[in-house]
């Protein structure tokens, strides 16, 4: 819901990153809550197997990865440093949790409650920092909307053209998608900034889709050439 609000008020490339941040924080919080739930149930377990412990360790490590990416996005989006610090603190906590879980073999259920002790605090902190980050994102976007000059009102890329561009990117080899997603977004932005009509932007998106398979073939051919040489 929040991301839909963001999408109406900000350029596509910022929205994509804001959306990634919101998603990463939500996913990290969800994983932390799962670990917290596992801790609550742990007393009912007789023995926790090595593979179960490995699963919990992977969840903690995944939290750490998502928070690492979130910190980069927080800097990129210009959020307050306190959000980055909060995420950094949670990332360290997730790292400790993963480390502890990684050092154990199978344990008794009651031991798991000790091992997962950090999970409750982690989930709590992540819920708070996610809320603060989302509120800041909304504030930034509201400010951007309020300060937008009339001449800039027409400079937002056409959303439909953006969707077409993203559709064209999906056809391309995986390794090239990031580059072309950014390149198409940039060109669409330039078109909009040059006051190109909505129709012109739409045609741009259509042409990208129309030539996506040719571009895919060229990229694959270039990759084969690189392998051969």
């Amino acid at each position: 819901m929040r991301v839909a609000v963001l999408a109406r008020g900000k350029q596509a490339f910022d929205v994509a990153r804001a959306q990634s941040l919101v998603n990463d924080l939500a996913d990290a919080t969800g994983l932390a809550l799962q670990l917290k739930a596992a801790r609550a149930e742990a007393l009912t377990f007789e023995v926790v197997s090595t593979s179960e412990l490995a699963g919990y360790r992977r969840m903690a490590a995944e939290i750490g990865r998502r928070l690492g990416r979130s910190r980069v996005l927080v800097r990129y989006l210009g959020l307050d440093a306190v959000v980055g610090e909060g995420i950094g603190s949670s990332q360290r906590r997730a790292g400790r949790l993963a480390g502890v879980l990684g050092r154990c073999g199978h344990v008794q259920g009651r031991d798991l409650t000790d091992l997962l002790e950090e999970s409750g605090g982690l989930a709590h902190d992540l819920k708070e920092v996610s809320l603060v980050a989302e509120l800041q994102l909304l504030a930034i976007l509201q400010e951007a909307k309020a300060s937008r000059r009339p001449a800039e009102a027409g400079s937002l890329p056409l959303a439909l053209a953006g969707r077409l561009a993203r559709g064209a990117v999906r056809v391309l080899p995986v390794t090239a998608r990031g580059r072309y997603r950014e390149e198409f977004e940039s060109e669409l932005y330039e078109l909009a900034a040059a006051e190109a009509s909505r129709w012109t932007q739409f045609l741009y998106g259509i042409r990208l889709v129309d030539r996506a398979w040719v571009l895919r073939a060229e990229l694959r051919l270039a990759a084969r050439r690189r392998v051969r040489s």
Binding site: F13, L77, E190, Y204, E218, A222, R225
Partner: protein
């Protein structure tokens, strides 16, 4: 390694790039200079880049500071410029005379 198929569009792109071989241009600028529709040249650029005729790089800006996405800039490589000149000289369909009529209207820099 064989050169690219010298279609009219490929010739137009190469001529546009050879007009200012040391200048870096991003996709929309190349489209405009070549008189081709926006959104149509990426396969050509990918082919030329794959052959080593073109180099490309991201614009060195911080999008958060500039408030816009970074551009992907293209330029002819030194060997590419030479090969492009030779290829255009040998192309059967000279299009230089057609270019002014093909140039797209628009206000992009």
């Amino acid at each position: 390694m064989p050169g690219p198929k010298m279609t009219l569009q490929t010739q137009a792109v190469l001529r546009a790039l050879l007009e200012r071989p040391t200048h870096e241009l991003y996709g929309l600028q190349i489209s405009k200079a070549a008189g081709l529709a926006t959104g149509t040249i990426h396969p050509i650029l990918a082919r030329l880049e794959g052959l080593g005729w073109l180099d490309s790089r991201w614009e060195d800006i911080d999008p958060a500071v500039e408030g816009r996405p970074r551009r992907r800039y293209y330029t002819l490589s030194p060997s590419g410029a030479e090969q492009a000149r030779l290829a255009l000289a040998g192309a059967r369909t000279p299009i230089a005379g057609l270019l002014p009529g093909l140039r797209a209207e628009g206000g992009l820099a």
